[in-house]
Amino acid sequence: MIEQALPGAEVEVIDESSGDHLRAIVAAPQFEGLSRIEQHKLVKRAVQPRFDDGSIHALSISTAPMGSD
């Protein structure tokens, strides 16, 4: 879901506790120039349906802009 909302992102999702506590580690070009809060909001918006239907209870998020070297 995150990859769809943020094309080009590198996403790793880790299940921290039987499926409803997840950790998402996301590096995306869209994050360039955004504050951490804005970056986290983008990820949260992408997975909002899973919060709405109760399949995720908690999500830890780590984000970083995808640098171009």
């Binding site: 809060i37 986290h40 909001k41 949260k44």
Partner: protein, 133 residues
Amino acid sequence: MSEPTLTDKVRELIDENPVLLFMKGTPEAPRCGFSMRTVGVLDQLGVEYAALDVLPALEPLRQATGEIADWRTFPQLYINGELVGGCDIVEEMFDSGELAQLLSIEQPEMAQPSAKQELQQDPQQSPPIQIEP
């Protein structure tokens, strides 16, 4: 004379408290792991902060902070009127020293992972805030 809405009251709290934490439970008795970790970071920094337990009015408060800062999950830390973020962001900024900088204080040297913290001195915080929804 119209009644202030919950959103108005929340805005007031954010404006009046330089460091304000919306959390589940209280600093002495956090009711969720993320809230506990956020309290842990603030206590390690030794900064004075106000804490509001959101559990008595969870949905209305989600709506209020959603309107104010476009953020609906807790814990939420506001510093000088601005949303800093939830547990993840607070921990990242603590580790990088940014949080201490934001608060104009010294980064503590022996930073511990934010599990249980010992209260060696009186915790520097205002009494928990109660507001009616």
